[in-house]
């Protein structure tokens, strides 16, 4: 029997979502404000979006962020997947405890510590701070998130699929590429998306690891926000939200339709 959805339950869910979404909605609304004063409504306008695109500094930072995000998410996905495989497939190897500790620790590590320690490493080895160092830093902390996502999928992976492939004559490497990888692909894709978003979002680690010429968008926004709220920043934020929201919603709609199709197929199969 299903529990009833009481009025109290509904109220708390509605209020909770209002709390979660209202600030974002207000931010978006005021990005279309004619007035320079962000909190006083002065009529509808898209002029801040125009000035945003003419702001070379912001545009450069956005471009840097995008490149760092794509490169670091891609490398992190490879490393994170390998780490997940190592953790699920090799139950015994020397230093496994240290390894799993290093995979999970960055998830809860305060960003200031991760950022500081990476910076000190770069200085110690004499690596000039810039695009490369931010990318390396982002690979390191996002690969752990990828590892967690992929590991969860691998834990529920039916090993008899691999055994079946080998039983039918596929050697281990072929089995991995023809069976294992395609089956866990959705988890790897969401791992990539998570890594990309985290990289796009990161301010603290980037501030430590980055140097001149490699200012990321969050760093740029942060430095402007410290000077005060401006409609232009609202516009920039709105665009970032829009990009992420469109991506996430599209992905979930595709997923949902696939799921729906699948359910219909399954029902049809049961009947037929």
């Amino acid at each position: 029997m299903n529990p009833t959805w009481s009025r109290f339950n509904i109220t708390s869910v509605v209020l909770g979502f209002a709390f979660l979404y209202l600030p974002i909605v207000l931010l978006i609304i005021f990005s279309f404000n004619e007035s320079k004063l962000v909190t006083v409504w002065g009529g509808f306008s898209t002029k801040w979006y125009g000035s945003l695109f003419r702001n070379q500094g912001l545009m450069d930072a956005a471009w840097v962020t995008l490149r760092v995000g794509v490169i670091s998410a891609s490398v992190a996905t490879v490393f994170g997947t390998l780490a997940a495989l190592a953790l699920t497939r090799y139950t015994r190897f020397r230093g496994r405890v240290l390894f799993s500790g290093m995979v999970f620790a960055p998830l809860v590590m305060p960003e200031v510590i991760t950022g500081l320690s990476l910076l000190l490493l770069f200085v110690a080895v004499g690596l000039d701070r810039g695009f490369l160092t931010v990318t390396l830093a982002h690979i390191t902390f996002t690969m752990c998130f990828v590892a967690v996502v992929v590991q969860a999928r691998l834990m529920s992976f039916d090993r008899s699929l691999e055994e079946a492939a080998m039983d039918l004559g596929a050697p281990p490497v072929k089995t991995f590429f023809q069976v294992t990888l395609p089956v866990i692909a959705p988890a790897i894709v969401s791992g990539w998306m998570l890594a990309f978003t985290l990289s796009l979002d990161d301010l603290v680690i980037a501030s430590f690891a980055s140097g001149p010429g490699a200012t990321t968008l969050p760093m740029k926004i942060y430095s402007q926000v410290r000077l005060g709220v401006t409609p232009e920043i609202n516009a920039a934020c709105t665009l970032m939200i829009a990009v992420v929201a469109v991506g996430v919603i599209a992905a979930s709609i595709v997923n949902k339709r696939r799921e729906f199709q699948r359910q219909r197929d399954e029902q049809a199969a049961q009947r037929g």
């Binding site: 080998m166 039983d167 596929a170 050697p171 023809q178 037929g272």
Partner: protein, 379 residues
């Protein structure tokens, strides 16, 4: 021992001393950590045999199958296939295929691609693959489902795809891990006969793992009963049922009544056995049980007669009280409590619509059985 009937009486290579085993386990032991899954087990399986490994969970039956397929290696001992030692040969190079309990159909591939997967690994030309896949799908009556994905199939259809996939490479041996476990009862009965037909028509050796005794009895030429990694008995279904080698086997397959006692005297095959309560029974085929030995006389319920009076001239008869009875339509099962407290189960076929000797709860009743109705068990 009297000869016991079998469905395929003519096929019995295991009785032919000149026949060479096709698969043999030789003193195989498998240890996982501190758990011994298979304990120094030897077993021979012949070509074209339908062989069942029957046992409960933890009996080692699946481990035997997985070692044959190459997913686990024996800790000691060796496994031979057609005269070749399988040690060190990885699963992808063994000439046998397996049908998995979960079916293990590749979810990202169509039915066609699943069935053709093994052939593609062999490097078979595409046209030949297509032809073989079509042939296999026809064999399992799934021609029109070739382009579907596994999730678009019902449980029974998935099972048939798994079957088609595992026989597509024409393996020498097909291993089946609980092949009918996931099907409902009706489908299971149908599929049992389909599997038997398939085995006959393809002329393959089948090794099937199951925990379902009915399934094993129906399909297999011979059954190996396993317990705690040890082989309890290997025999035809009829032998297993009528001539179990031990108390464990007798209890494991079907229902049985055990008359425990000590051999009081022996006269050729006939023995007199004294039970714990002092009652005496006469048994035939006493085997090597000598006077003084503790034995059990195992009698199947359908070989025990229940009546309201002591039957005329009955050798073994005991009085008790009807403790429980269940009318099942085709037969009635009685549970009779004897004076010493033992409860005996007896089943009577309802061959006429009304019984002329009706018994009901708490009636006094006699149970009786012939000296050759059961088997003497010393183990």
């Amino acid at each position: 021992m009297k000869s016991l009937g079998s469905i395929r009486r003519s096929f019995a290579p295991w009785n032919d001393p000149s026949a060479k085993p096709y698969i043999s386990f030789e003193n195989v032991t498998k240890v996982f950590g501190d758990f011994t899954a298979v304990d120094n087990l030897s077993l021979a399986i012949y070509e074209k045999e339908f062989f069942a490994l029957l046992g409960g969970s933890g009996s080692g039956k699946s481990t035997l199958l997985r070692m044959l397929a190459g997913f686990d290696n024996p800790t000691s001992g060796r496994i031979m296939l057609d005269g070749q030692d399988l040690r060190g040969i990885p699963p992808y190079r063994r000439p046998l295929n397996m049908m998995f309990q979960s079916y293990a159909l590749f979810p990202h591939m169509t039915v066609e691609a699943n069935v053709g997967f093994g052939l593609k690994q062999e490097g078979m030309p595409k046209a030949d693959i297509d032809a073989r896949v079509a042939e296999m799908l026809k064999l399992v009556k799934l021609e029109q489902f070739a382009k579907r994905k596994p999730h678009q199939l019902s449980g029974g259809q998935r099972q048939r795809v798994a079957l088609a996939r595992s026989v597509a490479k024409r393996p020498k041996v097909l291993l089946l891990d609980e092949p009918l476990g996931a099907l409902d009862k009706k489908l299971r009965e149908e599929t049992q006969f389909e599997l038997m037909d398939l085995q006959q028509s393809l002329g393959l050796t089948f090794v099937v793992v199951t925990h379902d005794q009915e399934e094993a009895m129906t399909m297999a030429d011979r059954i190996a009963i396993l317990d705690k990694g040890q082989l309890m008995q290997v025999a035809t279904p009829a032998e297993i049922y009528e001539a179990p080698a031990s108390r464990f086997v007798a209890n494991f397959v079907g229902n049985v009544n055990m008359f425990e006692g000590t051999v009081a005297s022996r006269d050729a095959g006939i023995a007199r056995v004294t039970g714990a309560s002092g009652a005496e029974i006469v048994v035939d085929n006493a085997g090597d049980a000598a006077a003084g030995n503790a034995i059990a006389f195992a009698v199947r319920p359908e070989k025990i007669k229940v009546s309201s009076k002591r039957p005329e001239g009955a050798v073994n008869a005991m009085e008790g009280e009807v403790y429980d009875l269940a009318y099942l339509g085709d037969m009635t099962v009685y549970r009779v409590r004897l004076a010493d407290g033992q409860v005996i189960q007896a089943s009577a076929l309802n061959s006429s619509r009304a019984s002329d000797d009706p018994l009901t709860w708490h009636d006094r009743a006699w149970i009786s059985f012939q000296p050759d109705a059961g088997i003497v068990l010393t183990r």
